[in-house]
Amino acid sequence: MNHPLLSVKNLTIDYIGDRKDFRAVDDVSFDIAPGEVFGLAGESGCGKSTIAFAISRLHKPPALIRRQSKILLNGRDVLDLTPQALAAFRWREVAMVFQSAMNSLNPVSRIGDQFHDVLMSHTTMTKAQARERAAEMLRLVDISPDRLRDYPHQFSGGMRQRIVIAICMALDPKLVIMDEPTTALDVVVQREILQRINDLRRTFGFSVLFITHDLGLMVQFCDRIGIMLAGRLVEENAAEAIFQTPGHDYTKKLWSSFPSLHGGALL
């Protein structure tokens, strides 16, 4: 890749224990190009979320990133950022959407105010500009700007998840990290949300790191996919190739454990 947006190099992360350390991420390297959707798949506990948190600089002890590791965003090492630089980096450079993000909205604060908090603390926008930006973002995720005055409980789970995504996009981040963003939702809402993100990245050119258990969904959405097994990246390829010509035995095993909609019944 000529000029990757994100370049993860030899990332190694341990969870420090009383008696023994646990290596959750073991010498992982991958690149994400500008505008690209890169997927990380693999079984529960293989280290996907640990990587996502490290890239967002949201990792906390006992997670310890080992010295040789590098996480370069536009060439700058995220791991070297000072606290001030970090404040500017979050939201503006990298934004993260969690699985339970729809529950992360403040229940006693209006949606408009929650946009406002993010916008005002990161930009020099006036109140009116912030309101206009919030309305624009809501329209992007198919929610009427009239609803900025509503509280989170007045929205369905799928709408709340879309609102979180809209807040994440409000500062035009270069990289959006989505860790199981739609697992709890029905497939119609899931498709609506991801399709919209796909359109938005085509328009605005941001990159996405997408994490899910659902390999079928991953192939639909991602340009390239990395397969992880016990902390290591064991295969990395174009999405079609991961589906049509999986190389690693573990990738083949993941596919064979997928029941298909039009496949046979077990009964």
Binding site: Q195, L261, H262, A265
Partner: protein, 304 residues
Amino acid sequence: MSQAILTLDGVTKTFGHGPSTVHATRSVSFSLHAGRALALVGESGSGKTTCARMAMREYQPTAGQILYKGKSIAEAGSSDITDYRRAVQMIFQDPFASLNPAHTIAYHLTRPLKLHRPEIKGGAIRAAVGDLLRQVQLDPDIVLGKYPHELSGGQRQRVNIARALATRPEVIVADEPTSMLDVSVRLGILNLLNKMKQEMKLALLYITHDIATARYIAEDIAVMYAGQIVEWGPTGRVIENPIHPYTRLLLSAVPDPQIRFDDPRARLRSREVENVRRGSGVPESEALEYEAGHFARKLAMEPG
């Protein structure tokens, strides 16, 4: 078909009152039969978990009744209720939250045995616990003394199933039992539920967003939208020949690695989706039988 073990008969549940009333379910009816599974799928927030909670007697229906072997449980005496508690067991979505971190696996399985199987006494209890664990393919020597956090998600969900089986249930209600588990573990749990269903003649209510797995283990399927079951019938028929616009929309959105999002065929058109939602959200009491056992509600308003 044999007599139903558990029936929801026109069950409506509302929460709140006045203008903020939520109609969680609207006149929902279905039956569970020995040795068969019914999959309940549909929109997020359409009332699936509310149905499960009513079947577990955690919520009282606002209208309609729940029948256990033909008798209304609202009129049941206390010994009937004890029997019902034994007979109807639930497996939850989160294998992490549903086990008590302070107790060993042995404790989790001994307790329901003592409560519901008084005929098993003394040393026989330990043997019964061992049998339960072997039934879910766990090695008693390894897991008996362990605490929940020392097991993986898949192992914990097996413990939950073993615990549900401890009471010799007739009905198992499983609310997204595999959605927190990864694919490699998921199939093992589904195979296990399927085996239990066949060998122990269990009736299974299987709630899921993963319609492919519904096809895998459930003979029948019911699709919910906005508190109503909009279509129901044999699983294969409903999937191959969906009638109701919401069922069609739902099936068209199932992830399919053959069609990428950039492919126009993958595109959900938001106008059409909104029309389907608007039409399907209107309560409609009339349903038609399109083929043997396959029913769909009419749309009060044709999407267009």
